[in-house]
Symmetry: C2
């Protein structure tokens, strides 16, 4: 029943000279997704963005950039390299490649170090690990060519581990529906103007993409009892959004621990459940991204249940 | 500079009918250690125990039992299977095999699950994982044949991660000596009646075995900045020992987090530094071992330093 929910992520911004990425067409993106060992399940579009729901997470394509997230044992680095080879290095203004700590890293087809070695044969850049190896940590590689991020170019990630309580029980149950999950997490009331595309996996798991103009929100749920993981990612400016999305999700999903990663987005934690922030890091990239990483632990003692093997 | 300090551990108790394990001789134990991909560096003896210091941790042999700990990328399961094959299953009253979470599990030659599959072809038993996969956790396999542990058969382990401060700086420095480390950690004053055997590794690392009658204490230090790990293991009844060994080591080494594992030994934590006990577990084995696992986190916020890669 184990499934690695933790996502790998690539984001690429092309140079202004480059034609629209959306004009590469569905076939191109389907092939790129295949290189990562995933497939496209469905797509929603608006005049700014094509949002693909994948068998393992999501792909968003705008005219000037794309973002792909893949979980499980996918090989996202292959897609990243395939894309760089297809467009040529000169078309790429900025690229980042990220991985989080996995539950079972030894089951992954490659380590971040190995991915890094391959990426650096195609494009130069700086890479860091933020966080201790025996705790939650985040790997990030960013290209180092001249580029300056727009001030409103922000991304927020909320990664939740060990969800508990009624919502978690529902997500592990056999009677759930996609509409039921949307209702449980109040997704439609939190994101009233968004267009939704979601999917319920068998036997367990839920993915949703939501878009509004250039804005996206994507949420992926791996509810498995001993290795649960729920991730939210968005380019909304959460600090100026009418609803406190992170606080609402934390309250409903009640995770034992959670991480917040922000790119030009400073996490507000005063509405979080009682916690100890075990560690945090702020890293300013030369390309104008302030990268924040914080690892939170629910301020409670947990009676651990031995897991028979 | 990375070194995996985290130990694998096997303990075997032979049936009363079996001849003394010590009479198997140094050659036998040297061969067994070789199967684990380690080697014997030195040995101290008393009328009850032969204590071998290994290139990767330690081996203690008594007449009725032995205990081997190996760190790094050693293959302790090979030694375990070699031993069972040599003596035959019937000579084994009780055996346990343990692993902790590793810093870089994907560099290990095998996972605990793989070790378990192999072990169970030779001997039946129960296995558990205690603790979450994304945090500190402990794997244990115990044979399930009829056996009853003596009431005074106790073991305590203190595993310290991310040591900081003056002692940590000394242990990472180039001017340390074995005598200096013994003094720094007050080993001789804490264990006045013990016979010592210690070794300073190049470029970094320190191991010590100490024995007194049937009692042993072993301490291993991997001081490397970003993946430090210090382990203490002993069969002393720490709750009734004149010195609070755990509190003294925690105060000197100032780890960011630490685990306590006890077999018929209840950890006393009121003398520990200010902490949050993130999780704990108590498991009673049918063989009369009460196994306690507790994962502690220093009650402070840590500013994480990005680690360039």
């Amino acid at each position: 029943m184990f499934f690695e929910g933790s996502e790998k992520k690539i984001e690429v911004i092309v140079t202004p000279q480059y034609q629209s990425l959306r004009r590469l067409g569905d076939g191109f993106w389907a092939q790129l997704v295949t290189r990562a060992n995933a497939e496209i399940l469905s797509c929603i579009r608006n005049p700014y963005c094509d949002a693909y729901l994948l068998s393992e997470s999501s792909l968003f394509v705008w005219d000037d950039r794309f973002l792909m997230l893949t979980c499980g044992t996918t090989t996202l680095v292959d897609a990243a390299i395939g894309f760089i080879e297809h467009l040529g290095q000169d078309a790429i203004a900025f690229a980042s490649y990220q991985r989080k700590n996995e539950y079972l890293s030894h089951l992954q087809p490659s380590s971040f170090e190995q991915d890094l070695l391959r990426l650096r044969r195609h494009v130069s850049g700086k890479a860091y690990r933020i966080g201790h190896l025996d705790s939650h940590h985040h790997y990030i590689f960013c290209t180092d060519r001249d580029y300056r991020a727009a001030a409103d170019d922000c991304t927020s990630e909320l990664l939740m581990y060990h969800i508990r309580g009624e919502a978690a029980d529902y997500l592990r149950g056999s009677r759930q529906t996609a509409a039921g999950v949307r209702h449980l997490l109040a997704l439609e009331s939190m994101l009233p103007e968004f267009q939704f595309d979601d999917f319920l996996f068998q036997p367990l798991g839920y993915s949703v993409n939501a878009i509004r103009g250039k804005d996206y929100v994507t949420l992926h749920i791996t509810p498995q009892e001993t290795s649960s993981y729920v991730s939210l990612e968005t380019n909304l400016d959460l600090g100026n959004y009418p609803v406190d999305i992170c606080a609402q999700l934390l309250a409903r999903l009640n995770p034992g621990s959670w991480d917040v990663i922000g790119f030009n987005s400073t996490p507000q934690n005063h509405t979080f459940p009682a916690h100890l922030c075990l560690g945090s890091c702020s890293l300013a990239s030369e390309q104008g991204y302030n990268i924040d990483f914080s690892h939170y632990q629910h301020l409670s003692h947990e009676v651990l249940i031995p897991e028979p093997m």
